[in-house]
């Protein structure tokens, strides 16, 4: 008897029954395939400006920094100013970022997954979650996961329209792209601030294995005042 059979039998024995009967199983299938939407906390609700303000405030609380830009073409200069001693930058190969003029900002840009020697990386987030200041980044052909973790300094471009209230919005969006549970990319990262540890005498320090600094470039209109809150 395989371990799988033994284990399932042991579980059923403990629960005092055989395999679930068809009607119960059907109910569970429905629960999985049409998940009941969560009741969302108040912190995930609000109009556009409220959510943007909350996102900005939460981002600051978790020691990330925020800069607002009216247009994407301001990104290279903003990155160069933030990482003022950098000469090279590793960038996610997304059309939004590939068409920008990096050299005008004094940065030599290369595109692709991060490598051990990359110290400055630029990614593009799929969403920003206002309830916690979290960035959602999904792996894909234009979005290498290593870029979120290997470089010392990590700048993330986020469209203001992609700031949503609750995490669940990301799941709903992903479900629309696929079917029958097969819509997840290899990796979905929720990033909430730069990396940290308290493993040295329980004192908090920023920057251990993941990026030491996280800088969010929020692109869109009507964002004045968000940087300082």
């Amino acid at each position: 008897m395989s371990d799988k059979t033994r284990m399932l039998a042991a579980i059923r024995r403990g629960l005092g029954r055989d395999a679930l009967d068809a009607s119960v199983a059907a109910g569970l299938v429905t629960r999985l395939e049409r998940p009941e939407p969560n009741r969302l906390p108040a912190a995930s609700r609000g109009d556009r400006l409220t959510l943007l303000r909350r996102f900005a405030a939460k981002l600051r609380r978790v020691d990330a920094t925020l800069q607002v830009l009216p247009r994407l073409d301001g990104v290279p200069e903003a990155v160069a100013a933030w990482a003022d001693d950098a000469a090279a930058v590793r960038v996610a190969p997304h059309p939004d970022l590939q068409r920008l003029d990096w050299s005008a900002a004094g940065l030599e840009a290369s595109f692709g997954p991060a490598r051990g020697m990359d110290t400055l990386g630029v990614s593009r987030a799929d969403a920003g979650i206002a309830e916690s200041g979290t960035l959602a980044l999904c792996s894909g052909p234009a979005s290498p996961t290593t870029l979120n973790f290997l470089p010392d300094r990590h700048a993330v471009v986020l469209h203001a329209d992609a700031v949503v209230g609750a995490y669940e919005t990301v799941w709903a969006a992903l479900r629309e792209t696929g079917s029958e549970g097969c819509f997840m990319p290899r990796t979905v990262n929720w990033v909430t601030g730069p990396s940290r540890t308290a493993d040295i005498e329980q004192t908090l320090y920023l920057g251990i294995h993941g990026p030491r600094q996280l800088h969010v470039l929020l692109v869109g209109s009507g964002l004045e005042g968000l940087e300082t809150g």
Binding site: D3, R6, M7, L8, A10, I11, R13, G14, L15, A19, L28, R31, L32, E33, P35, P37, N38, P41, A42, A43, K58, V62, P93, G112, P113, A114, G116, G133, T134, S139, P141, S143, T145, T146, F149, W171, G181, C182, M184, P185, R186, T187, V188, N189, W190, V191, T192, P194, S195, R196, T197, A198, D199, I200, E201, Q202, I208, H209, G210, P211
Partner: protein, 472 residues
């Protein structure tokens, strides 16, 4: 890890006498409750979410077989492989097999209690494969040849000076004169050393806080980012998870995540919450080519349908450890195995058996603070009482304490004898107190009187005797 839970009383004595450990424990004990309160205050819906979290976990346990099969089917649909392992040996062999097939020489590891439970590091080392712990706390204790003393803060018992010493002893390809006392120096060096290991590893092993049945996804929660480098850089990603970690949907996982980090560090979320589903896709730019999930039972199925079932709801947040008056005095090593604190006392007897672990549920005042702070409302005192009842049936404790309790119970069920005994006791204790109001010592009660006085009975006659005398 060879269990030393049977030596718990001796472990406790050693822990209480360990000044360095006591300093470390005192430093942390006020922090966890304070942080949790702040985290809870920032989410008005917290108690409602706890109710939901409890319901989700109990629902899964009641249907665990179905959800596990569903999870496994989804993993396989996405191109991953599931290994069903009834016990630790099967899990060790599965992991070794994966590593050998990958021709692995070094393996990086994110924090995994299951890894400790099956002692995977020793097994890999014995077969010429080098495991490297990457969580900073785990790395420190790996260098020191120790085991974790807390599920969230494994190096809680190690001082900064001890970390410096460990780095000097093990990082030999560096300038011996380099400054290494400031935390910044230690962190910088740890990052550099481990970065080389991350990039060189052939296989990355992580645990899983949850397994999502809907999509065949495993998720980990870290603050350092080590789990992510572990599972993204190597060619092979192995997830070690026990069977009860399943949750039905991504929505359910999200509900649990809203209460998990909040309960231990007060954070809305840990810095990195990562959802991994299968190997890299055809047009991905990075990620592992192979994805394996090792599902371990190791005694958990036997807890289903028993009064200990609720401990299987545990999502390993560590809040109970952070609030337990016993844990705060003795730390994690005293418990003698992988799981410590209240959840360790509730789970370990189920995994190791009572002959080895019976002391753990005894070492509790049943104050209930753990249940108070548990995000999934595990009734830990109830589970501890269940183990105590089983222990009692097996004859533990024996000796004097058993005789004392049985004598007490006999007297209490024989009210006239009880009246005589209590009258006698009142008179004897007052006599020994000799007008001072309290006793400084009493044969047989050295446990009490070693460190505190015993107030004497107020009068030579108990209340019920006096009350009877006053009746017409």
């Amino acid at each position: 890890m060879q269990p030393r839970s049977h030596a718990f009383p001796a472990n406790v004595a050693r822990a209480l006498a360990d000044d360095g450990l006591q300093v470390a424990l005192t430093r942390t004990s006020a922090g966890f409750p304070k942080k949790r309160l702040e985290g809870v205050a920032s989410l008005p819906e917290f108690e409602l979410l706890r109710d939901q979290a409890e319901a989700i976990r109990e629902h899964v346990l009641d249907h665990l077989d179905w959800y596990l099969e569903r999870f496994a089917a989804q993993v396989e649909k996405q191109g991953g492989t599931v290994h069903w392992c009834a016990d630790a040996e099967a899990a060790r062999e599965a992991v070794l097999g994966i590593c050998q097939q990958a021709g692995a020489r070094t393996v990086t590891k994110g924090k995994s209690m299951i890894g400790e439970e099956i002692a995977i590091n020793d097994h890999l080392s014995a077969h010429g494969i080098t495991p490297v712990e990457t969580d900073l706390g785990e790395y420190i204790i790996q260098l020191r040849g120790e085991t974790p003393s807390h599920i969230v803060a494994p190096a809680l018992h190690v001082s900064r000076a001890q970390v410096t010493q460990a780095f000097r002893e093990h990082h030999l390809d560096r300038d011996p004169e380099r400054p290494l006392d400031a935390p910044r120096d230690l962190l910088g060096e740890a990052r550099d050393v481990l970065r080389e290991r991350f990039l060189a590893a052939d296989v990355g092993i992580t645990g899983a806080n949850m397994l999502v049945a809907e999509t065949g996804t495993s998720l980990i929660v870290t603050n350092e980012g080590n789990g992510d480098l572990t599972q993204t850089l190597p060619r092979v990603h192995v997830v070690l998870a026990s069977i009860e970690k399943v949750v039905p949907t991504l929505e359910d996982a999200t509900t649990l995540l809203r209460v998990l980090a909040r309960s231990i560090t007060g954070q809305e979320q840990s810095v990195y919450t990562t959802f991994s589903t299968g190997p890299r896709r055809a047009n991905d730019l990075d990620g592992p080519a192979d994805y394996h999930v090792v599902l371990l039972d190791n005694g958990r199925s036997a807890l289903l349908g028993t009064p200990a079932q609720p401990i299987l709801r545990c999502i390993r947040c560590g809040a109970c450890l952070g609030h337990c008056p016993v844990y705060q005095q003795v730390g994690g090593h005293a418990y003698g195995w992988v799981y410590s604190g209240p959840m360790g006392a509730a789970l370990t007897p189920g995994l190791l058996g009572l002959p080895e672990a019976w002391h753990l549920p005894q070492a509790s005042t049943l104050c209930g603070r753990c249940e108070d702070v548990c995000p999934v409302r595990i009734p830990i005192p109830e589970v501890l009482r269940h183990w105590r009842a089983q222990s009692w049936e097996q004859g533990r404790p024996g000796g004097v304490s058993r005789l004392a309790l049985r004598t007490w119970a006999w007297l209490a069920t024989h009210p006239r004898a009880y009246r005589l005994a209590s009258s006698l006791a009142a008179r004897v204790l007052r006599w020994r107190a000799d007008g001072r109001g309290a006793l400084g010592s009493l044969p047989g009660l050295g446990g009490w009187t070693a460190t505190r006085d015993l107030p004497a009975p107020e009068e030579g006659r108990p209340f019920l005797v006096q009350w009877q005398e006053r009746q017409p």
